[in-house]
């Protein structure tokens, strides 16, 4: 059993009057891939965005309840959401490299947070991050080329490299492979499995096969509720809640 990295208690989220997350409590383990599954619109992305306070950037969004990172409340007024996001990295559904060079994309976070002093240290960080994202061999000869010129799968791995370069502790991924072809998807999944050695990884996915392949823990959301949370193998073979079973067997969703 790994340590608890993130622990959420009675989280509620509203978009104006829309109650998008209802009473969700969950404990996310370190060095584990946790998958959020559920029909679209059930609040997976919303809950994921609570963990790095990305919802703060949406005016109408209101979050209640406690979310603890290593036992400390991330919604405490003492906590700067900007600092928090350096610790809890995020990869988005659509690859969104900045219109800068590959190098500058990866160096973006380290430069902002002052993680490297001097060019050679920064070079090392960039190389290490690109290697971790399994992209180094493909781009090492063209680090100065634009990041937007890469293929979709390469762009997404660049975004992963960009996220791991800030040395986060938790990595949030919102459907990171949904815009990619099967080969690129397989590469990303393999990568996620490796990232688990260093980080707590939380991945939202609409593909149940993907959840089964990459995750150790699975949480099933339905209409804003966390219906069931447990070992991936148990959720997929022996779900407790009838709604989970219906979703997994394809009757809802």
């Amino acid at each position: 059993m790994n340590d608890i990295k993130v622990s959420a208690r009675d989280v509620q989220v509203w978009y104006a009057d829309n109650h998008a997350i209802k009473d969700v409590s969950v404990e996310i383990e370190d060095k584990t891939v946790t998958a959020f599954i559920g029909p679209s619109g059930c609040g997976k992305s919303t809950f994921l965005r609570c963990i790095n306070r990305m919802n703060d950037t949406i005016d109408i969004c209101r979050v209640e309840g406690d979310i603890l990172l290593d036992g400390e409340d991330i919604y405490d007024p003492q906590v700067d959401p900007v600092q928090l996001r350096a610790k809890v990295g995020m990869v988005f559904q659509k690859p969104n490299p900045f219109p800068k060079s590959i190098y500058d994309n990866v160096a973006y976070g380290p430069r902002i947070h002052g993680l490297a002093s001097g060019r050679s240290e920064l070079d090392a960080v960039v190389e290490k991050s690109l290697r971790r994202a399994a992209l180094w061999d493909e781009v090492k000869d063209r680090l100065n080329a634009s990041g937007t010129g890469l293929s979709g799968g390469q762009q997404q791995r660049l975004c992963i490299a960009r996220a791991v370069a800030t040395e986060p502790e938790v990595l949030l991924m919102d459907e990171p492979a949904s815009a990619l072809d099967p080969i690129a998807t397989a590469q990303i999944e393999e990568l996620i499995d490796e990232l688990r050695e260093k980080f707590a990884v939380v991945i939202v996915t609409h593909s149940m096969q993907q959840a089964a392949r990459v995750s150790q823990k699975t949480a099933f959301f339905h209409l804003g509720n966390l219906v069931e949370y447990g070992e991936t193998s148990q959720i997929f073979t022996n779900p407790v809640d009838p709604r989970t079973e219906s979703y997994i067997t394809g009757r809802i969703g």
Partner: protein, 486 residues
């Protein structure tokens, strides 16, 4: 028959044709519309177009060509002896036109009858005084040759107009009948109508393009003319601008170009930072409500006529700068200055920069902002390091557009910076620009063929090429930028 009645008749015929054609098409298939190649309305459209368009085109061409043709004819009839010393055929022709118009007015007012007019001749009547009674004042007594020319001018005009009405009506009727006769169920009426309309659209855009071409060519010809009588080297390289009405002028463009660039530069120095800050605020910080109010409010600045800005420069900014900056620092004592014009022009340009830049910043995808925030960047880091670099090409385009606007501005310069051509670095001195000098050279009293006047065309062409290049550059940059996100 006058032109508007004629056009109404043609349109009436076309509308009639429309309904007849629809009926005819339907009756050919016994009312079973599905047997027609196209919907009945298209048969109507075809007849409408074939009735109206050729007839109206003939009308337009006729109106264009007739005066030219008559003018030729009549001026050929005037013997050289009828042209007094010191006058020109053009001046005599304008007398002819006025006499002809005067006769029309007299007939219309009932001062004379048709019969009286036919008997009229220079010897028996004082035409000059009769014309004066209907408000046409002539400089000298009318000579017989001129009077005869005026008579035949009138005649030809009347005959021409009658012929025009006849021809136009024949063309309209022919179009109507022929296109009605050609209706068959298999006729591809929709395709014909659509091609016809397409041709009309292309024609319309050709008119715009040809007009531009015409403007450029006329500028070009006059410029070539100018360079025949004034050395191009002096125009481009001489450092003095000093036109003399007696000839022997110095027409060096450089002081004017310098004034243009200097004032534009001051304007951009004002407009670009302010405009950019406004754009960043509006796009990234302002709330929805504020934005929906502030953006149009700033754009109002762009709608103020430049003459009003000019007044502002003349009455408020100029004296202020003179009294509070120029005189105390001892750098000048004129209320017209580069700084005045530049400042006021800068204010005028703010909305160009801010509005376009705001649109461009808004077009930067939200996903890039999310990506940056997700890495722990603050809002200002995100703006500086992601949004502005991503928006930069578009913003540069916006700035170049503002620059070309500044270069072409005239009113603010006349009223803010004066009309003295000067090659100077002091921003508190009066200076002037290319556009101002174009106006003043053309509104002078000099002969039209003198270098002092023709230089305006050379200046105009230079300015045209300059702003065209800026615009092309701006469009190129903006377009290149757009490709990134589509």
């Amino acid at each position: 028959m006058n032109v508007s009645i004629l056009s109404v008749i043609v349109l009436g015929l076309s509308v009639l044709g429309f309904f007849l054609a629809r009926r005819r098409a339907l009756s050919k298939v016994n009312g079973k519309a599905y047997k027609l190649h196209s919907r009945p309305i298209y048969y109507g459209q075809v007849v409408f177009l074939f009735t109206a368009v050729p007839a109206l085109l003939v009308l337009a061409l006729w109106l264009f060509i007739q005066p030219i043709a008559i003018e030729r004819q009549v001026s050929a009839e005037i013997p050289a002896s009828a042209i007094p010393k010191g006058s020109t055929p053009q001046l005599v022709m304008s007398d002819v036109r006025r006499i002809a118009g005067g006769i029309d007015a007299m007939l219309h007012a009932g001062n004379i009858t048709k019969a009286e007019f036919n008997d009229m001749s220079v010897d028996t009547t004082s035409i000059r005084s009769q014309l004066a009674s209907v408000g046409i004042a002539l400089g000298a007594d009318v000579t017989p040759a001129v009077f005869e020319a005026a008579k035949s001018y009138r005649n030809m005009k009347n005959v021409g107009h009658t012929a025009m009405a006849a021809v136009v009506l024949v063309v309209a009727l022919a179009g109507l009948l022929l296109s009605l006769a050609r209706i068959t169920p298999a006729q591809r009426a929709r395709n014909i109508a659509e091609h016809f309309i397409l041709a009309l659209l292309i024609g319309a855009s050709l008119v715009a393009i040809l007009t531009t071409l015409g403007i450029v060519l006329s500028l070009l010809f006059e410029t070539i003319h100018f360079f025949r009588i004034y050395p191009a080297r002096d125009f481009f390289l001489s450092l003095t601008w000093n036109p003399q009405f007696r000839g022997g002028s110095d027409l060096g463009m450089i002081p004017l170009l310098w004034g243009t660039l200097y004032i534009s530069l001051v304007a951009l120095v004002v407009a670009v930072p302010v405009g950019m800050l406004i754009a960043i605020y509006l796009a990234e910080y302002a709330g929805k409500n504020l934005r929906s109010f502030a953006k149009p409010a700033i754009e109002v600045l762009a709608g103020i006529p430049t003459i009003v800005y000019g007044l502002f420069a003349l009455i408020t900014v100029g004296p202020f700068i003179r009294d509070w900056i120029a005189v105390p620092t001892g750098l000048g004592n004129s209320s017209s200055s580069v700084l005045t014009a530049g400042l006021v022009m800068g204010i005028m340009l703010i909305p160009f920069v801010s509005s376009l830049s705001d649109d461009i910043i808004n077009a930067v995808p939200q996903s890039l902002r999310d990506g940056s925030y997700g890495l722990g960047a603050t809002r200002s880091e995100t703006i500086k390091k992601v949004i502005l670099p991503a928006a930069l090409p578009g913003v540069v385009g916006a700035i170049l557009l503002a620059a070309s606007r500044a270069i072409g501005e005239t009113m603010i310069v006349v009223m803010g910076a004066g009309a003295a051509a000067r090659l100077d670095l002091n921003p508190l001195e009066a200076m002037t620009t290319v556009t101002v000098k174009i106006v003043s050279q053309l509104t002078g009293d000099t002969e039209f063929a003198s270098p002092e006047t023709l230089v305006a065309f050379a200046l105009g062409l230079t300015l045209f090429i300059f702003t065209l290049a800026l615009n092309v550059l701006a469009l190129y940059i903006v377009r290149k930028y757009r490709e990134q996100y589509e």
